[in-house]
């Protein structure tokens, strides 16, 4: 059966069953009948050739962004003071925290794909998990910069860590910011381990293919002396399972804790019990949005269309549709809660969000996150590269504005009218925001050229090159 006939939803084949009965055929996870060798060749090719012009251009822009990011932090935040930013009285938090929450949210998709989908035996994850995890780690690395440099005296930020010292400095465990430290560092640690664990056999593949001795040395070190023995594979699988088990609750916990930064405060618009689930879903939503933004160009430039197939993208779009609706529901619930609570402050803040000074930010948020993904009800749209790329960008924009709306509208106009103010981003804030994308893409682009961007070993495990379509999917436990 021709592969192109099978795509998307499973197709019924009346006589193809093992006993001659009907069989539901799925699109194969690797297209065009690539052999195991071809898989290795395809994935390792970008690592073993000179960078292409698009990559060089993209990397140039990313470097520029990263340079802006760094120079804004050094010259403004660290040397001159937080005054260089738009934060003021009463808006104590601004784009630093907006970006922090945004990037942490981005970081959710990777772990969800690798850990949760792993536990749920979603085999399609193998094509995208490596890059999604890479995105997670780089997003957390980007996010982590913001809380560290948004404080007034960044050189003392390590005081937030509980470490024994002669000054009896000990963090205040009542503070959600301290919880953040633990949540995020744990998440980052597990994510890195999990990612690295998956990378070990693939690094060994790259090592084995290496010609230059230095290259061999580096990848040899990275692959931790992987031999490919049965014993090694067995331990490796157990480790992956354990790590995915550890990582799964973290998908929920990190953004829950981040939402506590707001939910445990008394600020109207922040003080809400809905925040933890609302934040987690929003994070998954934005994470998948960013995954799409990254994978669509990557699969094309690195010629990985056979591994990151339209089916993968469609599955991602379905998740976007689902989470987008949950997010939209959460937005509406907030209004209901504000009205139902009878609290004037709460009521005011939500009316003000939708119709007040920052109405534009609110409606950017609402339309990008709740309305735009609705387009994925249509299969054609779900499988259209241009449409999904635009949607993924809009989801990113919408989710950035979600954090902007939550932080800025709540702080600018709270209890005492005489405290009210506005928040306007300064050039430094713009530099920081745009620069953070440069910083993130710099890592991602480097990753594209130095790491196997598709999990070679895992893809092979779900792929049967002899069977054109869907055979692998029929093995209930998968075949390694």
């Amino acid at each position: 059966m021709a592969v192109e006939q099978v795509y998307g939803t499973p197709v019924l084949n009346e006589k193809k069953g093992p006993l001659g009965g009907p069989r539901w055929d799925r699109e194969p996870l690797v297209l065009n009948g690539r052999t195991f060798h071809q898989i290795t060749e395809d994935v390792c090719a970008p690592l073993e050739r000179m960078p292409s012009l698009p990559w060089i251009i993209a990397f140039g822009f990313a470097l520029l962004g990263a340079a802006i990011f760094g120079s804004v932090i050094v010259s403004g935040t660290l040397f001159t003071g937080m005054g260089m930013h738009g934060v003021n009285h009463p808006t104590g938090w601004g784009v630093h925290i907006v970006n922090f929450v945004f990037w942490i949210g981005i970081g959710h998709a990777g772990t969800l794909i690798s850990a949760v989908l792993f536990l749920f035996r979603q085999k399609w994850r193998t094509g995208v998990n490596r890059s999604a995890e890479a995105m997670t780690i780089f997003a957390v690395m980007t996010a982590g910069v913001f809380p560290a440099v948004h404080v007034g005296r960044a050189w003392f930020v390590y005081w937030m860590l509980p470490y024994p010292n002669h000054r009896y400095l000990w963090p205040n465990f009542n503070s959600p910011l301290v919880w953040d430290i633990f949540a995020i560092s744990t998440y980052a640690t597990i994510s890195i381990f999990f990612w690295y664990m998956g990378l070990v056999p693939d690094f060994a593949t790259v090592r084995d293919r290496a010609i230059h001795p230095l290259r061999k040395k580096i990848y040899g070190l990275l692959s931790l002396g992987w031999t490919g023995s049965n014993r090694a594979w067995r331990h490796w699988e157990i480790a992956c399972l354990i790590l995915s088990g550890l990582a799964t609750p973290l998908v929920l916990s990190v953004h829950t804790i981040v939402s506590f930064d707001f939910a445990t405060s008394i600020v109207p618009g922040w003080h809400a019990t809905i925040f933890p689930p609302y934040f987690v879903v929003g994070a998954i939503f934005s994470g998948f949005g960013m995954t799409l933004t990254l994978l669509i160009p990557m699969r094309s430039w690195l010629k990985l269309e056979d591994y990151i197939t339209m089916n993968h993208l469609e599955a991602t779009n379905k998740i976007l549709l689902a989470t987008g609706m949950i997010v939209g529901f959460a937005y509406s619930t907030e209004f209901f809660m504000a009205a139902y609570s009878g609290s004037h402050w709460e009521g005011f803040i939500f009316r003000n969000r939708a119709f007040g000074t920052y109405w534009w930010a609110y409606w950017i948020m609402f339309s990008c996150n709740a309305f735009v993904p609705q387009i994925f009800w249509f299969k054609k749209m779900r499988r259209s590269i241009p449409v999904m790329f635009v949607v993924s960008l809009l989801v990113n924009v919408g989710m950035w504005f979600e954090r902007y709306v939550i932080i800025v509208t709540s702080l600018t106009q709270d209890f005492l009218p005489q405290n009210w103010g506005l928040y306007v981003m300064s050039p430094f804030d713009w530099g920081l925001t745009i620069g953070s994308f440069g910083w993130f893409f710099m890592f991602f682009l480097l990753y594209c050229r130095t790491f196997p961007t598709v999990a070679i070993a895992e893809v092979k495990s779900v792929h049967n090159p002899d069977d054109g379509a869907g055979v692998a999917a029929q093995h209930p436990q998968g075949a390694h």
Partner: protein, 1135 residues
């Protein structure tokens, strides 16, 4: 500068005099009991006594010292390494770690100066001053910053063509003496207000010496732009009085003002405020609380605090006053002359013309008649007219207030206004003046539009005595630097019978002299050896010889001291012996005042003929605009003398909240008609004078009225004030009136208005009035009540209180109930106070259910109450706080970015519920609609609420739980502490503060730490350095309070340094801190109306406990559940 101080440690223990003839100021914390003060052990001796110490003690102490040094370094948050000088050559009475206090006067009004290590650091209230002026003004408090102003002149100079060259005293004195001797009676002395006996005497003696028998009174012109020409003229016409009436508000039942802003800018506002507050006391006086009724075109502080305010045009004031006078005259059976004169003022006609209801006028008239003899009627104040003041005096006369609440004995003189300057200009232009000495006033700036500068060119010799080479200084020939009030001797009398000495608390920091010293020096010419070669004789001479004699014996005070003593002795003490007079003089110095009512008999003879000059009826309103040149207690005051003072420039004007900018205030209705928004420019023309400046829409203003605050637009005042705003006096015309008529048209341009509180930072045109509006029904932030309600409720509460007292006797198990249940739970919030058993738990109002038992306060429990019923919004507390707590100035750009640092701010709300028919529209507006959506006229005459807002020291403080570094924490005395050196600056605490009272150091404001990178990135940093630490400005810092670095959160600490000091003092005497003013926060001490009370609520006897437990007490945002320690007392209106 050789020596800063005079007294020795020994002097403190005796009331002997120091070598300077200056008495010792009593240590203030112990009721003036010197013996007691000296019994206090100084923990680390100052070196005055021999230290006996063995090796072990030495090691122990040096260990402690090292630890202390480490602590200091840490507290300073990265304080840069600085060269320090050991305190070996310590001066006289200074003791490390202990302040000295000096009673003195600042700007003529009594105050007390606190010095540390010989440097004045804080100006506060002179306690126990009998006039009831127990506070300071914002301008007085800010004078500390002026003292250290690096832009002050450093020495005498000769000026030619606007360029100065440094000179010396000998050359200057010689030139001046030659000039005045040559000019004789063609000499004139132009000064600011001069009220002190000795100063006046010195002026007359000097001018007498110059003129040789001519009429010296015409040679001295004392004036100020806020002068009292009108009232003086009115008093002259009606009573033949050469001087000003004085008003006694404390006993008044009804106070009416026709524009006089007596709470802010009229005669003696801080004293009037204090008396006004006394008259409004609801606790002690009950139903006798006074009622204030104000008719005015602009919104003044007085109008904002009035029980009833009528918004009328300036031109209508006379008609209204006349109608009122007419009504009263009829009821009080006035003489035919008066009735005849007033018959044109028909109440109905006036009512129709002005829009004020005739019933209101009739009601007011009968109320005044009812309170005849115990009411006060003010005229038009500084901006009024002779006719208006006359009419007001006439009403006072008709009501029999003269001699009761209005006192006229001629001792209170008051300076003249612009008319005096105009007369002088006339003289100058006619060439009648050869030598003009100008002292402590800046007529070139003030008289810019009325031709003073060109008139000055006709004068041969111009000598300028001023603190800097300002606009007038640059036009003079000789510049004689004037010492600051804190540096030189002087005296003043700003109240009938009250005389005060201005005592220096530091030697002149620059090469300058006081006014008295200048006059003495010019009355006695000395040669290079200091020998007097020519003299005018009299006291001017004896002062110099006495000073010379004393100088031979050692360090001597300036001759002004001897002059002052001599003059006061002759006038007040009349002691026969030198020692006797010295004793009396020293007593006055110690007290800060001397009371001597004198022998003047009060004028009571009403001159009915004076009434005849009054217009026979209301004057019809012209079609022109009213252009009013007003003064604000913020900014630079109306004269611009403090225009280089960053504190005042950044102090929110109580009404507009504008800082760092000149604006024209226009009523919202007029602005809408002209299609103008805040920041749009208008062109104001008065005669040929034009001025273009941005507007703010100011609720409460009369139609077609534009109000400008004067005092800005200086060109030669210094780096801070130069070029800020425009000079409103450039609209002055030759009629000398500050309420002018002119034209206003829209002009090109838009300016962003820097305002304190509730405004956008950088947003374009959307300056938003929403933040000023308060809907007390939706957001009951400013509870209010009427006197009638209060009287019934307070009775009910008293009854409930009695019941509760019985209940308390039952004892334990009470604490679980929380507050409310046993208490009179009134609608304002229902905070209660309940001292409980051994835990002494303080229970706040709506405590609600809680899992948490709360904090325990075993010892003290500090709390504060603020009586909104008397708070006038005068800002004295704001400046006192800034001075006490080393708060930085952030500059105009900082304010535009909403980054002002004031720990204590005065929120000002307009509530307009009375004017609106549709409560739904009101709610809608408060929520999100814009100004355009407000119903027509909603902001015409809003009710104004002032609400001082500082850290509320919550029990369940939002800031405390969220700080990851534990920098914000609660102590066991109820103070919410901010540990600066632990703060890393997440700003989470500020976000989680419902009151948004925490302030963040966005930049390095307090230390000059600039490098090429920060200068490039943030050019504003140089301005911060200028505002806060250029030159000697560092010396103003209160050493008891850490100066914060960038990245650190700060906020009101309840003046914890004062708390600590009082506690240590009390502990050393084995007692508790007393409730008698021993412990006052800076704001409390500065408040002229005594509306702030601070103290221990664990002690049921204290004033604070009683206030907190009272019916009027409430806490703001009670429903948030933070349980603040700051209680507000409900405003009671008595309309």
């Amino acid at each position: 500068m050789t020596k800063n101080v005079w007294l020795s440690t020994e002097d403190i223990s005796s009331d002997a005099l120091d070598a300077q003839g200056r008495p010792i100021s009593p240590p203030p914390l112990v009721d003036g009991d010197l013996a007691q003060a000296n019994s206090i052990q100084v923990e680390f001796p100052d070196g005055g006594k021999q230290v006996k110490m063995d090796r072990r003690d030495f090691m122990r102490l040096s260990g402690a010292a090292t630890a202390a040094a480490g602590l200091t370094a840490a507290t300073g948050c990265q304080v840069p390494v600085e060269t320090i000088v050991p305190y070996v050559n310590r001066e006289g009475e200074t003791q490390p770690g202990r302040p000295n206090f000096y009673a003195t006067t600042i700007h003529g009004a009594p105050a007390r100066v606190r010095t540390r290590a010989g440097k004045p650091i804080h100006i506060e209230a002179l306690l126990n001053h009998p006039s009831g002026t127990c506070g300071t003004t914002a301008r007085q408090g800010a004078a500390i910053l002026d003292l250290y102003d690096p832009d002050r002149a450093t020495g005498p100079a000769q000026v030619k063509g606007g360029k100065s060259t440094a000179s010396n005293w000998q050359a200057l004195d010689k030139a001046v003496v030659e000039a005045v001797r040559a000019s004789g009676a063609k000499t004139r002395l132009l000064t600011g207000p001069v009220s002190g006996h000795a100063t006046q005497e010195a002026i007359y003696e000097f001018l007498g010496g110059v003129a040789g028998g001519a009429a010296v009174s015409s040679m001295h012109v004392a004036w100020q732009p806020d002068g009292h020409d009108n009232l003086r003229q009115a008093a002259q016409d009606l009573y033949g009085l050469d001087g000003l009436p004085d008003y006694r508000l404390a006993e008044a039942r009804t106070i009416v003002s026709f524009g006089a802003d007596f709470l802010d800018n009229f005669i003696s506002p801080e004293r009037f405020s204090s008396d006004w507050a006394k008259s409004r006391s609801v606790e002690n006086r009950g139903v006798k609380m006074s009622s204030t009724v104000v008719f005015e075109p602009r919104l003044t502080m007085t109008g904002a605090n009035a029980d009833r305010r009528f918004r009328v045009r300036q031109g209508h004031l006379l008609g209204l006053a006349g109608a009122l006078a007419h009504l009263i005259a009829k009821q009080r059976n006035a003489s035919a002359v008066i009735l005849d004169q007033l018959k044109g003022y028909d109440v109905n006609a006036v009512a129709t013309e002005t829009g004020v209801k005739s019933e209101d006028l009739t009601e007011l008239a009968s109320r005044l008649v009812e309170h005849a003899g115990s009411c006060v009627v003010f005229g038009g104040g500084v901006l009024g007219s002779v006719e208006l003041d006359k009419m007001a005096l006439l009403i006072n006369h008709l009501l029999g207030n003269i001699g009761q609440t209005v006192v006229m004995d001629g001792t209170l003189r008051g300076a003249r206004g612009f008319r005096a300057l105009l007369e002088l200009i006339d003289e100058l232009n006619k060439g009648q003046v050869e030598t003009l000495i100008i002292a402590n006033t800046n007529p070139v700036y003030l008289g810019a539009a009325i031709g003073f500068e060109s008139a000055l060119e006709k004068v041969k010799n111009v000598v300028y005595i001023g603190d800097r080479l300002d606009e007038t200084g640059l036009k003079s020939n000789w510049f004689a630097p004037l010492a600051h009030d804190l540096e030189c001797w002087g005296d003043s009398a700003t109240e009938v019978g009250m005389h005060a000495i201005q005592q220096p608390s530091i030697r002149p920091m620059n090469d300058s002299r006081g006014l008295l010293d200048h006059l003495i020096a010019w009355g006695n010419l000395k040669d290079a050896n200091g020998r007097v070669t020519w003299t005018m004789g009299g006291r001017l001479h004896s002062a110099v010889t006495e000073a010379g004699k004393a100088a031979k014996a050692g360090e001597a005070p300036s001759p002004a001291y001897y002059y002052l003593q001599d003059s006061w002795n002759a006038r007040f003490f009349r002691q026969k012996t030198a020692s006797g007079s010295k004793r009396s003089f020293n007593q006055a110095l110690r007290d800060g005042f001397h009371f001597d009512i004198g022998t003047n008999t009060p004028a009571t003879n009403f001159n009915a003929a004076g009434v005849k000059t009054l217009p026979t009826g209301p004057i019809a309103l012209s079609n022109a605009w009213d252009v009013m040149l007003a003064s604000s207690n913020a900014f630079a005051d109306g004269e611009g003398v403090q225009a280089n003072n960053g504190w005042l420039m950044e102090l929110a004007d109580p009404i507009t909240h504008v800082v760092w900018e000149s604006v024209a205030q226009i009523g919202p209705r007029t602005a809408r008609e002209m299609n103008l928004m805040d920041g749009d420019s208008i062109m104001i023309s008065v005669g040929d004078n034009r001025l273009s400046l941005p507007i703010v829409t100011q609720p409460g203003l009369a139609d077609k009225t534009v109000v400008l605050y004067a005092g800005l637009g200086r060109t030669a005042v210094g780096d801070v004030g130069n070029g800020v705003g425009v000079n409103a006096y450039s609209l002055m015309t030759n009629n000398g009136r500050r309420a002018q008529v002119g034209e206003v048209v829209a002009a090109e341009g838009w300016t962003q208005i820097p305002r304190i509180g509730g405004d956008d930072p950088r947003d374009g045109r959307g300056i938003d009035i929403r933040a000023d509006l308060l809907n007390n029904k939706l957001r009951p932030l400013c509870p209010e009540s009427s006197l009638t309600d209060w009287n019934t409720k307070s009775t009910a509460a008293a009854k409930q209180g009695a019941d509760h007292g019985q209940g308390k006797a039952h004892g334990e198990g009470h604490g679980e109930h929380g507050g409310g249940e046993h208490h009179y739970n009134h609608e304002y919030g229902g905070a209660t106070y309940e001292p409980h058993g051994k835990n002494k738990t303080f229970v706040g109002g709506h405590s609600g259910p809680s899992h948490w038992a709360g904090h325990e306060y075993p010892g003290y429990r500090w709390a504060m109450s603020i009586d909104t019923n008397t708070c006038t919004g005068c800002n004295a507390c704001v400046i006192a706080c800034q001075s006490e707590n080393n708060i930085s100035v952030v500059g105009k750009k900082g304010v535009l970015s909403n980054r002002e640092m004031a720990w204590l701010r005065i929120d000002r709300y307009y509530s307009f519920d009375a004017q609106l028919d549709n409560p739904l529209a009101e709610a809608k507006h408060q929520d999100w609609d814009h100004l355009a959506a407000l119903p027509e006229g909603a902001l015409d005459n809003p009710k104004v609420h002032f609400q001082p807002m500082m850290c509320q020291h919550c029990e369940n403080a939002g800031c405390e739980t969220v700080c990851p570094f534990t920098a914000s924490m609660h102590d066991d005395e109820g103070i919410n502490q901010q540990v600066y050196n632990r703060c890393v600056g997440t700003r989470y605490c500020a976000n989680n503060c419902a009151y948004k009272v925490r302030r963040y150091n966005w930049f390095e404001y307090s230390f000059e730490r600039t490098n090429w990178l920060t200068t490039m990135v943030n050019p504003e940093g140089k301005n911060h350095a200028r505002y806060n630490n250029a030159g000697d400005l560092n010396n103003r810092y209160n050493p008891e309070v850490t100066v914060r670095t960038r990245g650190v959160m700060e906020k009101c600490s309840f003046c914890s340094q004062r708390v600590q000091k009082a506690k240590i003092q009390a502990r050393s005497e084995n007692r508790k801190v007393r409730d008698d003013g021993e412990l006052q926060t800076a704001c409390e001490s500065a408040c002229p109306v005594n509306c702030i009370t601070f103290g221990d609520v664990n002690n049921a006897e204290t004033r604070i406990s009683q206030q907190v437990a009272g019916v009027r007490s409430y806490r703001i945002l009670e429903e948030v559940g933070a349980k603040p320690s700051v209680f507000y007392l409900t405003r009671i209106w008595n309309p």
